[in-house]
Symmetry: C2
């Protein structure tokens, strides 16, 4: 079995590492803050002191970090993965970052004989814990085939989309669809409420027809109950929407709906709600419509 | 069994009437144009010459017409249903109209001892043919119970939402969610295409996660294939969005997403595409993004 290095042991990275350990992989880890290190070491992981060291002791290095700049620094920066790497290694970035950064990483790593995949995930903390993440993969087919048994320890819906960057483009598409569907459900349920109509009945009726979606099912319920404990925070979704809008600029495509919903997220974050689940978008509509959230 | 009158024998009304006939109801019909009359008469319907006459020969009158003004004229206007009606009758309006008009009809009919339900549908021509429509009902419970066996001949997902107008509010909510989800999928698939990523793979990956919806499944496929034969036309969806925006104004709720997507529908209709399926929204993004539709 390949020796794995895992860098970035946050809400997603920690349970993903645990699933790799449980699948029998030897795993070396690095994280900027000590947070999850002790728990993972007690399960068999070995803690190292830099991304460079991780690369020196692994065949496949996985990164799972907040944003494009973090991944670029960890992989290509001082004491980074590339400094400890050798030809034949593989780097799998499972963060959500800009497709342009993913392509840059691929180009630089390829020049050094290192395979690279962009493999962002969806499914959240629960999907990470249960090993049922959706994984959207960009990169060469040979690298994908090599990575597949490793990815299968972490996810259940693993699709090889295309060349380098294609995984990140797909994740951007995913975040567009989720954001606009959340807005759709928020707008509809607030209109029902303002019109004196029972939102639970509306949700039930709509789930039986063409308006059906997972967002209506899960977030519709959260909105009706006013339960916005994350979940997936507005802060993180807005970060991903910034990648979406940047990707739109890169190809000169106006993303009218994505621009608007990102503006609404900006407003919620300005109101101190960035740490709430993205279903809290409904609270902005309630505020705009003069509804007291306490009456929900 | 109740004697039924059916007014409005268009794409939806004709197959709905056929299902009532097949369920064993006696049905009298009226339509402004002769179109579907002959076919329905050959299946046992009796053709009459005005909404007033229909009311005189039926216990329950169903209307299925294009817009608010049509229903108001047919029910309350000259030679209308109300002129031939008597106490104890029932009127079920299955058109998609403004909730305010539905409430006005309810009030006027109630004053005359006539039961009234607003019962708009979703599920399209195929749902009408197969008797599997979703039916969203507003009105009194006694009227709903009386109507249920009749509605069951036409639909399979029948929900009593609340008081008069609640069915139409629910239909407005349904059209919001469908419109914004269509926009979401159009924006995502165009971004994929502009980025050189296979939209079919993106759709497949997204269907396995939180971005899943019926719209992504059905309209996503239509967009990828460029097949925009209706379906549900942009003309009709824009008409319904006008009801949505009017309902938002009535309760002073800004419907930011609905306003934007209605503007995009306006643009498509200006380009002569109003007769296409609403999935053709993607063609506006392709045009904006400088993609030749022939390259799809």
């Amino acid at each position: 079995m390949e020796r794995i290095g895992f860098i970035g042991l946050g809400i997603m990275g920690k349970p993903m590492t645990q699933n790799l350990l449980r699948a029998g992989h030897s795993v070396v880890v690095f994280n900027r803050s000590p947070g999850a290190i002790a728990a993972l070491v007690s399960e068999g992981a070995i803690a190292l002191s830099s991304p460079k060291q991780v690369a020196q002791h692994a065949d496949v290095v996985i990164t799972c970090l907040p944003d494009s700049a973090d991944v670029e620094a960890v992989v290509l920066g001082d004491d980074g993965v590339i400094e400890g790497a050798r030809a034949g290694m593989m780097v799998i970035d499972m963060s959500t970052i800009a497709p342009t950064t993913a392509r840059k990483l691929y180009d630089t790593l390829s020049e050094n004989g290192i395979q690279a995949l962009d493999a962002p995930v969806s499914g959240g903390e629960i999907g990470a814990q249960q090993g049922t993440l959706s994984i959207m993969v960009g990169g060469d087919d040979a690298a994908f085939q090599r990575a597949l048994p490793i990815l299968q320890a972490m996810g259940s819906n693993i699709v090889h989309i295309g060349v380098a960057g294609a995984g990140q483009v797909t994740k951007a598409c995913n975040q567009i669809v989720v954001a606009l569907t959340v807005q759709a459900v928020a707008e509809a349920l607030t209109l029902a409420k303002k019109s004196g109509v029972d939102g639970a009945k509306v949700r039930e009726a709509l789930l039986g027809g063409f308006a059906q979606s997972r967002v209506l099912e899960v977030h519709g319920k959260r909105m009706l109950e006013g339960k916005f404990n994350p979940g997936f925070t507005l802060d993180l979704h807005r970060k991903d929407m910034n990648i979406v809008l940047q990707t739109g600029r890169d190809v000169n495509l106006p993303l009218l709906g994505s621009s608007q919903v990102t503006s609404l997220m900006n407003a919620l974050i300005a109101q101190g709600k960035g740490g709430l689940d993205n279903a809290a978008l409904v609270s902005l509509y309630e505020m705009l419509g003069g509804l007291d959230a306490n009456e929900r």
